[in-house]
Symmetry: none
Subunit: 253 residues, 2 copies
DNA sequence: GTTCGTCGTGTCTGTTCATGCCCGATTGAA
DNA sequence: TTCAATCGGGCATGAACAGACACGACGAAC
């Protein structure tokens, strides 16, 4: 096992467990504690974990993102299935906008290495993930970066989306329903999502079934703006049928 | 079997298996390890795999960049000292532009948690690192993302810098000298740097002494544009004095 | 057909890298 | 305050690496 592989795995363990310690890692990987310390130092220098006595803590967990990690773990299965289904929607060649969000991030992580695409995103984690993908021409949408979601918002982002036209948009929402449309808690983010929706020829909404019926503060569109909804089997067939009557195709992964 | 065929096959094996190692490839293809190393080097240069000790890993499999901090492990010490010295230049309150580059990234990593700043950057790694800093209001400059440097360039970036005015800019250069000014290998990046220089009231150049006297393809400014040069003690006192006569303060960390 | 340059490959040699071990310094919990 | 766990730097070692050079195949120009 190569050192970078081990570091990658350590990072994953840290993110999963919220913390790792030197000795168990040493045992786990069958190397000495010194080597683990070096790995943690490297990860620390890369800004991915924060070194503490006896181990390390992933940075995202550090101060005030318990919910990002938590959200990551809840409904993980559903999100994975949704992400997998969304892969089928990638254009083989063309332009795609990726919204911020953990489910969309999973799709991004799963884009095959042979793919050849132009991707536009305002999400920092997704951009970081795709930056070294050899087949992807990545365009970053700038703006003020919100701490919680690590996505760019405000004037620069709105203007950028106003200037482009993409084949497909993968968008996330915190709540969706026929009555209340697509909603999210933050007004600035809703504005960016709305701009992204307007910039795409085909809108694909990724949302697990728990989001159905929820409504949040800021509305950024109607369900009728969505061409395809990819969700999980937690959405009842009746609800799905009702949505399809509104003109939105539904995939229950 | 021709070299490009072999490389294509190596790439396929790497993507299928997630990793390859030099010795098995050498056996597999009935060539020496040196030849495999050359193949891997070529694939690495093409940005298709990441070289590791003993083998290679296809890009995208690792979602972190182990070497962005370590890539130029040469002069690591100097860079650390320069970064430390640069911390003193942070405004206590105000706006700062951070250019892309490993040295600048180290400064970003070292910004104290209690700092309260507005930061603007077009560097993806730096943005990722600062995104969850509680005291920093982060503004991301968008644009096409260059694979090699993970920095945004082109129209969006140029326009964004044209619209702002910051207190301090920390800028990096691949070469600097009184005669040839500030240079970097890439034209698009030079344009962004030039725009950033124009957007800042005070320009601080971070460059280790090995960069002195070097000149690269694209020039983005003169040494006289720089208010403060932070370098290491490898720059001779005479050179430093000469630069200071040009109106640029010099710190040899 | 000969000659020359180029390219891919192999060989050699000194250098770098990853890791393990050791020891004094530091830390944090009782 | 004390003491055991942990850390970090230095050093050793074997594997892996990089650069220089040589050899042979191939193709172009004469």
């Amino acid at each position: 096992m190569y050192a970078p592989e081990r570091q990658q795995e350590i990072l994953r363990l840290a993110r999963d467990g919220g913390r790792v310690d030197v000795l168990s890692l040493a045992e786990e990987f069958q190397v000495t504690a010194e080597t683990i310390r070096r790995d943690l130092k490297a990860l620390d220098r890369a800004g991915l974990v924060r070194r503490v006595h006896g181990g390390a803590i992933p940075v995202g967990r550090l101060d005030f993102e318990p919910d990002l990690a938590e959200r990551e773990s809840t409904a993980a299965d559903e999100k994975d299935r949704i992400a997998k289904a969304a892969l089928a929607e990638l254009p083989t060649e063309g332009t795609m906008i990726l919204d911020a969000g953990t489910t969309v991030a999973r799709v991004a992580a799963a884009i095959p290495l042979e793919a050849s695409l132009t991707v536009v995103t305002h999400s920092l984690p997704i951009a970081a993930r795709l930056a070294d993908h050899p087949g992807i021409q990545l365009h970053l949408v700038g703006g003020r970066v919100r701490h919680r979601t690590r996505a760019a918002v405000d004037a620069w982002a709105l203007r950028a989306y106003g200037e482009i036209r993409a084949d497909v948009l993968l968008v996330a929402a915190n709540g969706f329903s026929a009555e209340h449309g697509l909603t999210t808690p933050d007004l600035a983010e809703a504005a960016v999502k709305r701009a992204a929706v307007a910039a795409a020829r085909r809108v694909v909404l990724l949302a697990d079934s728990a989001k159905h019926g929820q409504e949040h503060f800021a509305r950024f569109g109607d369900l009728s703006d969505v061409d395809l909804l990819i969700t999980d089997s937690g959405l009842s067939p009746e609800d799905a049928a009702a949505i399809e009557r509104g003109g939105t195709e539904v995939v229950r992964a």
